[in-house]
Amino acid sequence: MKPTDDAQDQVEKADQAPMANVESAATVSGRFVTRFWWLTLACVLLSLGLFWYARQRDGQRIQIQFDDGFGLKPDDRLRYRGIDVGAVERVELSDQTRKVLVHVRLTPEASFVAAEGAKFWIVRPVFSLEAIQGLDTLIGAKYLAVEPAPPNTRSQSKFVGLDKPPTVVPSSGALEIILDAKTRGGLENGAPILYRGFTIGKVVQVGLASDARSVRARCAIDPEFRELIRMGSKFWNRSGWRLDIGLTGIKLDADTLSQIVSGGIEMATPADGSAIASTGYRFVLHDAPEPEWLQWQPSLPFGKAWSQLESNMPQPIRIALRWQERRYGFRNNEQSSAWCLPLSDGTVLCFSEQVIAPKLALAGSASIELAGFSSVLDQVKIVSVAKQPAIAGEPSVVRFTSDAELPADLPRWPRDRIASEMPIEVCDIFVAQSDVASVISIDSSRLSVSERGWTIDETVALNTDLTGSPVVSAASGQVIGLLEVKGSISRVLPIID
């Protein structure tokens, strides 16, 4: 039926239908005019606002290329320092390069990650002799980890991921040394280098030497520990645990759980370890320590203590007292030597033993030898003797002059850097040696105040040879006394004029 016919029909039947009530009303405004347009405007703005908000919340998108996806899937996380900074959106195979492309959406606050030089790798469970890593990925999902580039680098959205976690980058100031081993023996990147079980550095890179004769491990020693590595240091592989099965039973040797799984490289430095190793110095990595190495217990200044004393340390020289004794009717040559400290005013600081002839010495036979010169003891004038409770047979510190001209280039310690009194409280001290490298550091906890100066704990192994070495206070930098070592007893004796 056509609309026109329909209208005709309606008109014909109009009489039968009730008339509608008509009331007055406001006139309807013109074409397309209505307040509803405000609603439309609001909705358009809202829609745009929502898009803007979602984009804002979404963060940047980046693409990382990997050789192996390791089962990474959408919605796996990207983590930096253990917290989520993004999520995998999708993983695909690239057509040409046959690599895995991982598309990651960063969280808005983590946009700094998308900068040139950022390193990405997939964290997955790793079981090896030296480390168990990524255990959280065994049960939970795998995740991507990132090491962002330094700040203020150019932003970038396409990256090439690493196959394994990035090698430890030695921090600036680290000492890099090289260890040569016969076999790899479980040596892995990142294995710790331990000194007395304390981590002082890490293996940075393990590889075959260029001639394939040995395995070469590049190691970085943390800057604060670099003074512990001396030319004479010994390194050996530490498997972490040892199992002994014998008639008496089974014995398992292990320090901590982490060492059972981690192992590492252990090192020891002898007391006469000579100079500090410099960058690139090569050591041999032994399979096992010799028993002697484990006994080494040198006092080595390192870190902050080291940097303090490096500038100014007294340099003692050897002094020898020679005399003749009559024993069983024969004249025997005797000698006693120790360290002494030349001072700026021409005097020399040493123990009275070195400048006072023993009672048994034949008259006129005694002489001292100092810095290559010899002078008859009669020519030696004692300028001052330390005032301290005089105990017969016990030495005290004396200052003397001799007619022997000391060489002009001999380092002399300024007179004003001699403490006139021992400090009341014990403090950290250094025992000066002829070369700065072998300075011995002694912690204040090893010292106790005694009747005659400070007594050094017996646990600190000091050689009798060290007698006469000047002792410097770490606090003031002044020479506070001379070291006396007699048998197992070592003391710091004061210099009081």
Binding site: K13, M19, T27, V28, F32, V33, F36, C43, L46, D75
Partner: protein
């Protein structure tokens, strides 16, 4: 000249005389307004405004993430389109197609049809009548509002198992449903046949 017109509300047929501006006819039985001069213009303006508002909200409702699910540390967020694509990818072609047709194609078609109808004069009467009939049919199958309900049910039922967050699309979605409903209500089919 009087015309016959049924009341929208109770269906009683009235005979209405030609109305002057400032007048309106009211149903004798239920008192609802039956007709007003230039009523067609008002209905068309309102329909146009509401349906354009719905159209503006539609992309936001479909493309923005609507649901964020946190389950055992796994974070997942998806939009309506994303969900449909996910269904296709996992092989659920039937379910995917059903949702695509009833939640996206039909609602969008309804909104576009309403815009077209509100633009009187732009098309010939017969074409508009056809559009109207067609819209009435597909309107029944436009399931946007049903989907909103499904979301609510899911939130209430599953909130113990997984953690839910609604994304920004939910606001757009709800408003889009409301706007297209307003547009449909405001549209007066008489306007199509009314003499201009």
């Amino acid at each position: 000249m009087a015309v016959l017109k049924a009341c929208h509300c109770c269906g009683l047929i009235h005979s209405i005389r030609t109305l002057e501006p400032g007048e309106r006819s009211v149903c004798t039985r239920c008192k609802s307004v039956i007709d007003q001069p230039r009523n067609n213009q008002r209905s068309q303006a309102r329909t146009a405004a509401a349906s354009l508002a719905a159209l503006a909200l539609f992309p936001a409702a479909v493309f923005l993430p609507i649901l964020e699910i946190e389950k055992l540390g796994q974070h997942h967020q998806s939009s309506v389109i994303g969900g449909i694509l996910e269904l296709f990818r996992s092989g659920n072609l039937l379910v995917g197609t059903i949702i695509l047709v009833f939640s996206i194609v039909f609602p969008l078609a309804k909104i576009i049809a309403l815009i077209e109808l509100s633009w009187l004069g732009a098309l010939r009467q017969r074409h508009q009548a056809w559009t109207y009939r067609w819209m009435e049919q597909i309107g029944k199958w436009s399931m946007m509002d049903v989907m909103l309900l499904a979301l609510l049910v899911m939130m209430i039922k599953l909130s113990d198992l997984v953690q839910f967050h609604f994304g920004p699309a939910v606001i757009a979605f709800a408003l889009c449903v409301a706007m297209s409903m307003i547009a449909a209500i405001c549209f007066d089919p008489h306007a199509i046949w009314e003499n201009k």
